[in-house]
């Protein structure tokens, strides 16, 4: 044995002694010195892994066990250690695989068998829980509503659905009603919500549309409860219709004081022109954001908590992305934390939920582009930032030309980055009554799919006493 090896062995013995005395810190110290001298000894890693387990450093324990097995795939203790680490980390399926290996190689090892059986039980239990969770139909607010029997008082002179349906007349009346800061009767609001929930739930998570040569579409970004600016968009660009299609790319509510007016208008048009008016989910169409940034407070103040519950359910059914002519992909946030995501993956997303902390659904709602190549941890603390190379690879793999996203306020209302392959559009001018930014929308023609940008500035709005949150005019800064 080489001299270094002898010394390493001595260090290992020293470490073992500390381990026996339960001095795990010192054990780790000397195992590490042994590893430094002889980095190809599986036992050192395995022993250190056990010491890490005892000190609850499960991540390090897992790394060491894995390293031990890399060096010697026949080292049974390594599988054991790795399984224990994985158990501690809650990765039961991975642990089970390793326990299986140990049991197979050491059929008489009672401890191994016992651990395997325990792990197996846990894995089965979790699978069962998942199965019954999806079978169990979570109770919807819809079930507890009796809309038919809601009466509209005689003194209500506001807009009503015609035969239970949204019509253009109704939409025009409702928009004027809202403009005068009046409230839509709750029955009408419920009717809209129940119908739009039904409509949205039938859509795929990735909506695919074709724009004919002669057709065009207008893509808008965040509107954030700025109702009067939304009315201005319709004034500048025309009301939605079969020949004037729109896509609103998420973040319809929160921050602005007129979120209800915005969302009911958008939902109304969705019902009126289901094939020509599109809505995608933004990160603000979620419970956490609504609780903090005003929408929940606004709904509770103007209607009820139950209605907010229903909004929450409807938001969960909003599609996550839209693809136009198989060339342009639109989503609120951006691209993914990992390479290899395909359009098929997006189609398959089970979206009727609050977004998870990570994964494609989370990324679609939360990520941001960055100027430099590669990916970085997001400043937002959720999802990631992705560079031009990520965009390039994604577009190539999925045979797309460019993406359009929103999610970030821009001084000019829009921004073209990643050599034209990543476009941001933001449609809430003078965001929060503070930023002084322009808003923008994009015209996309079926003939050439070249984005055309239109900018607009904020219009005045009533000085509304702030809702539970979006305290815009009052909070002007530090006073």
């Amino acid at each position: 044995m080489a001299e270094g090896d002898t010394e390493a062995e001595q260090l290992k013995e020293k470490a073992n002694k500390f381990f026996k005395e339960k001095d795990y810190e010192n054990a780790i110290k000397y195992y590490s010195e042994a590893v430094d001298l002889n980095p190809s000894n599986a036992i050192y890693y395995s022993n250190r892994s056990l010491a890490y387990l005892r000190t609850e450093c499960y991540g390090y324990a897992l790394a060491d066990a894995t390293k031990a097995l890399e060096i010697d795939k026949n080292y049974i203790k390594g599988y054991y250690r790795r399984a224990t680490s994985n158990m501690a980390l809650g990765k039961f399926k991975a642990a089970l695989k390793d326990y299986e290996t140990v049991v197979r190689v050491r059929p008489n090892d009672k401890d191994a068998r016992m651990k395997y059986q325990e792990c197996n039980k846990i894995v089965k239990q979790k699978a069962f829980e998942r199965a019954i969770a999806s079978d169990e139909i979570k109770k919807s607010v819809v079930d507890s509503l009796d809309i038919e029997n809601m009466t509209i008082e005689d003194d209500y002179v506001g807009p009503k659905l015609e035969d239970g349906k949204v019509t253009l007349t109704f939409m025009k009346e409702m928009m004027d009603w809202f403009k005068d800061q009046k409230k839509l009767h709750r029955k009408c609001a419920y009717q809209i919500l129940v119908q739009v929930k039904d409509l949205l739930s039938k859509l795929p998570s990735l909506v695919e549309i074709t724009l004919k040569e002669t057709e065009k579409i207008t893509i808008c970004g965040d509107t954030h409860g700025q109702y009067y600016d939304l009315l201005n968009i319709f004034k500048l660009n025309g009301l939605p219709s079969e020949t004037n299609p729109y896509l609103f790319n998420g973040d319809f509510v929160d921050r602005g004081s007129f979120s209800l007016e915005v969302i009911l208008t958008l939902f109304g048009f969705k019902l009126l022109y289901p094939d020509n008016f599109h809505l995608l989910r933004g990160n603000h169409e979620t419970d956490n954001m609504n609780q903090m940034y005003g929408f929940e407070g606004e709904v509770k103040a103007k209607y009820t908590a139950q209605m907010f519950q229903l909004f929450s359910e409807v938001f969960q059914w909003l599609p996550l992305a839209q693809c136009i002519n198989s060339k342009v992909l639109i989503m609120h946030g951006g691209l993914f934390s990992e390479d290899g995501v395909t359009l098929e993956d997006l189609r398959k997303i089970d979206r009727n939920r609050q977004p998870p902390d990570s994964g494609p659904m989370c990324d679609l709602l939360w990520s941001d582009p960055q100027p430099q190549n590669g990916r970085s941890i997001s400043k937002r603390g959720v999802s990631c930032q992705f560079g031009p190379d990520v965009t390039e690879r994604f577009l190539e793999q999925n045979k797309l030309d460019f993406i359009v996203r929103s999610h970030e306020v821009k001084a000019e209302g829009y921004e073209v980055t990643h050599s034209g392959k990543c476009i941001t559009v933001f449609s809430a001018p003078n965001y929060c009554d503070q930023m002084g930014n322009k808003g923008a929308y994009i015209h996309l023609r079926g003939s050439d799919l070249k984005p055309e940008f239109h900018q607009f500035t904020a219009v005045p709005h009533p000085n509304v006493k702030p809702m539970a949150y979006a305290n815009t005019l009052m909070q002007l800064g530090m006073m």
């Binding site: 503070q434 002084g436 702030p466 949150y469 530090m478 006073m479």
Partner: protein, 324 residues
Amino acid sequence: MAARKPFTDSDTSDEAVRATCDDATTCKRFATSKGYWKDPYIQYFARSVGERKAPEINRGYYARVQGVNHLLDAFIRKAECNCQVINVGAGLDTTFWRLKDENLMPRKFFEIDFPTVVARKIHNIKTKPPLSKPLIETHSTDSLLLDAHSLDSDRYCIIGADLRDISNLDEKLKKFQLNPELPTLLLSECVLVYMTPSQSSNLVHWAAETFHTAMFINYEQVNMSDRFGQVMIENLQRRQCTLAGVEACQSLDTQKERFLKTGWEHADALDMMTIYSMLPQDDVARIERLEFLDERELLQQLLQHYSICWATKDKLNLGNYEWI
């Protein structure tokens, strides 16, 4: 009594300025309720926690409070409490009680604000033992000198006065035993900006003339000539709140200038974005975890449009005021 010269341009404007003390108080009340920093006394000035404020507002107030307190406390320590503090436009500020709790009380702590604001503050102090008790503890006799618009005690004095009437201000302070020989710290938070440049100039000049060893800390807007600044000015105008002194808020340099040309020896200024990054970062990390901020750009813009400027006159050579 001689007839008072009319100083106010319009009553509405002054009223709007007075109302800003409620903004500050309710924002601080909300932020402290969420745990951004501790202030056990603010609840006696703002009964309920009130409506939710945006996270960037809470973080902005955190930065302001930490930043100002850092400088204030450093000065008091340097002077070994052998100093005075004058908070001009103090509103319903609770610093006196904090300094008492932390054993950092100056020889005397003065506050000045409009008489109606002071009246409200005095009423709160009179009727709430958690406020009055500490005050009485620092006073040598059992009774405080109280009238409608002023309160005087050994260590704490609150004066109702118009900051634009310097002679009246000077007279009142001297009446309540202001000692020009003591190192003195003057503090103004979003105050000078509501006066015209010449009015605020008079005030800071008076301070430079009156004290030989002093520091003036001024927290208020900066970088106001850009779009964000314009929007803020318009918003405030709609609330009848005129930023009459916004000229000095164009840049860090203009903030320093107003002191350097009125007799102050030295001036430094930093915007709040910079100060935010200089605050103890583990505490900043803690407060950032309190509430999720959905759009960082909002915080950035806010912080870039406020600054702390501190000017010094240092006859006694108290030394530099380091930020570290």
